[in-house]
């Protein structure tokens, strides 16, 4: 399948640009070029790597102060394990909801012919809402779905008592609802270029070969969107797992790992136990590293089909 308008610009441009200098200037001064990045590296080492490494050095302490893995083990057992399971569950749930609803919303916006401004509104609004974390988001949902919230009252008028079940803003269902507010728009931003990259001719080709809508999505559409969908899931998961500010205002639930870390840092624990707090942070860094690493690889793959 040769397509004449293969998305070329950025990547190929970069390759051409990158190739040119290596032909021309081949003198030994070239390695000196890395020295230009010293300030940047120094900055990252001082303000990002040293704090990150310190977390690990504190985490890898046994109770007697020697090197060991006991704190790291303790951070994933007992109550701490419960916290990780809870956080993993609601983050995965929030990511899944975000991927599905964000994907549908993006598709609805991309295919809607009228009104014309609709698509722009959806993508501009997503740019704003994807960044709306922190306090304002927590406040908005407290006033909508808190016990005395406006939405709670409206739902009550329709005969649905939200708080009769196990709905709480600080529990899984509530966190998923609140985090959807930034996860759905973030997913729209991830998936919209990929949806734009789906060519009408592919659908026509599929129809010509006797396929129906279902065949098209199963054999063509979804496989092409798969890297973007999976990448979006990882990004949304990492986003939900590491969110602190919103959760802090919604609840004191110490099963949320970032809150748990902050309780340890706040010093409400006995001496010697603080290594566990750092171990929680260390595990979090490891988890985020795996997610973002996989996301990085998937992004390279999904760029292939994206309309840029």
């Amino acid at each position: 399948m040769v397509s004449s308008n293969f998305p070329p610009l950025d990547n190929e441009g970069a390759v051409a640009q990158a190739a040119a200098p290596s032909h021309i200037q081949k003198h030994p001064r070239k390695n000196l070029a890395w020295f230009g990045l010293v300030p940047f590296f120094l900055f990252l080492i001082l303000f990002l790597l040293i704090p990150a490494i310190s977390v690990f050095t504190q985490a890898l302490h046994d109770e007697d102060g020697s090197f060991g893995f006991s704190a790291m083990r303790e951070a994933i057992s007992g109550q701490n394990l419960d916290a990780f399971v809870f956080s993993l569950t609601f983050s995965a749930g929030a990511a899944l909801v975000g991927v599905i609803l964000g994907g549908l919303l993006a598709y609805a916006a991309a295919t809607a012919k009228r009104p014309r401004w609709l698509r722009n509104i959806v993508s501009s609004f997503s740019g704003v809402a994807a960044n709306m974390g922190g306090l304002p988001l927590a406040f908005a949902f407290l006033s909508l779905l808190g016990r005395q919230g406006l939405g709670t009252k409206i739902l009550n008028a329709f005969g649905w008592d939200l708080y009769a079940g196990d709905f709480r803003l600080g529990e899984i269902s509530g966190l998923i609802t609140v985090y959807s507010y930034f996860n759905i728009p973030l997913m729209v931003l991830v998936i919209l270029p990929a949806i734009d990259g789906l060519k009408t001719s592919w659908r026509e080709a599929c129809a010509n070969l006797g396929g129906n809508t279902w065949t098209y999505w199963r054999r063509v559409g979804l496989p092409i969107l798969a890297p973007s969908l999976l990448g979006g899931f990882l990004l949304l998961f990492a986003n939900s797992f590491s969110a602190y500010a919103t959760a802090r205002q919604l609840t004191d639930n110490s099963k949320i790992v970032p809150l748990r870390i902050s309780f340890f840092l706040g010093g409400d624990v006995s001496i010697g136990e603080d290594a566990v707090g750092y171990s929680l942070a260390a595990w979090m860094i490891i988890l985020m590293g795996v997610c973002m690493g996989a996301y990085w690889l998937l992004r390279r793959r999904s760029e292939k089909w994206s309309a840029s």
Binding site: L44, S54, V128
Partner: protein, 283 residues
């Protein structure tokens, strides 16, 4: 099910329903927050007959007169300016250098700039707490937050500047400037920076938005920034706290809309990527 008219109807109404439901989900929390902040009426007492009673901005004006309000806002604004300047001073030379001399390091540097996602704010602040006893002279100052805020904004700011550099023919501009006898410094200030205006403005707005919304580090380190003040003020006066949050939200929304407009006018002219906070990392 296979009736073509039914399917057509389905094909039209499903997207409309999705868009409508999304509209409700995304506007209702904001409406509820605004009502709570600006209408002095308990939800229990609210009904159709008093829906428009007792609206006022008294909660905002009351919060303005709190003794710590201006202190916190000033600190956050100073941090925002400091972070923006630090970011530009660090990233423009680095990005220009990468584009001119080390194109092969591009992917590597880009990879480094997403590290703040791997080490989220709560983990970063855990590290700061560890380091603190060894660097009290530095970390006791409120302004020590600046470099860490530079780190938090890095994924967005670097991408914005990188996109700006991609959209101009940097090599030709620099060669022209140099061959006309200009020094490196003059080239940077009189050729490169004026051409990067849009990227510089959007990266500055992104920085300001990040700094004015940052809560994690400032909460754990007990710094009195604007978000910390907001959280604290809510304890004593919930309506005032919510009103402040709305103000902050309007401010940052304005910044993002401005970035959107800036990048759109630039991308129609020069075909570059549009820099916005979160989608920068994706495109």
């Amino acid at each position: 099910m296979n009736n073509p008219r039914f399917r057509q109807l389905l094909g039209r109404s499903v997207p409309t329903l999705i868009l409508l439901a999304s509209g409700i989900f995304f506007t209702f929390p904001l409406i509820a927050m605004a009502r709570f902040a600006f209408q002095n009426l308990q939800v229990i007492d609210l009904g159709w007959n008093n829906l428009f009673d007792k609206w006022s901005f008294s909660s905002v004006t009351a919060s303005f007169s709190d003794e710590f309000f201006s202190e916190a806002l000033t600190l956050s604004l100073k941090l925002a300016v400091g972070t923006a300047l630090f970011t530009l001073g660090l990233l423009i030379p680095t990005a220009v250098w990468v584009h001119l001399r080390l194109p092969k390091a591009r992917v590597f540097v880009e990879f480094l700039t997403i590290l703040p996602y791997v080490i989220p704010a709560i983990a970063l602040v855990a590290g700061i707490v560890v380091v603190k006893p060894h660097a009290r002279w530095f970390l006791n100052s409120d302004y020590s937050l600046i470099p860490f805020y530079v780190v938090l904004a890095l994924p967005f700011t670097y991408r914005s500047i990188d996109a700006g550099l991609r959209s101009i023919d940097l090599k030709v501009l620099v060669e022209a400037s140099r061959s006309l006898g200009s020094t490196w410094l003059a080239t940077l200030f009189r050729v490169i920076i004026p051409n990067l205006r849009a990227a510089i403005i959007s990266s500055t707005f992104l920085t300001v938005a990040v700094v004015l919304g940052e809560y994690t580090i400032s909460d754990v380190l007990l710094k009195r920034t604007f978000p910390s003040f907001m959280a604290q003020y809510r304890q004593s006066d919930p309506r005032g706290g919510y009103a402040l949050a709305i103000m902050a939200l309007i401010g940052t929304t304005f910044l993002f809309v401005a970035i959107g407009v800036l990048s759109r006018s630039r991308s129609t002219k020069l075909q570059s990527n549009s820099p916005q906070l979160k989608n920068e990392i994706l495109t």
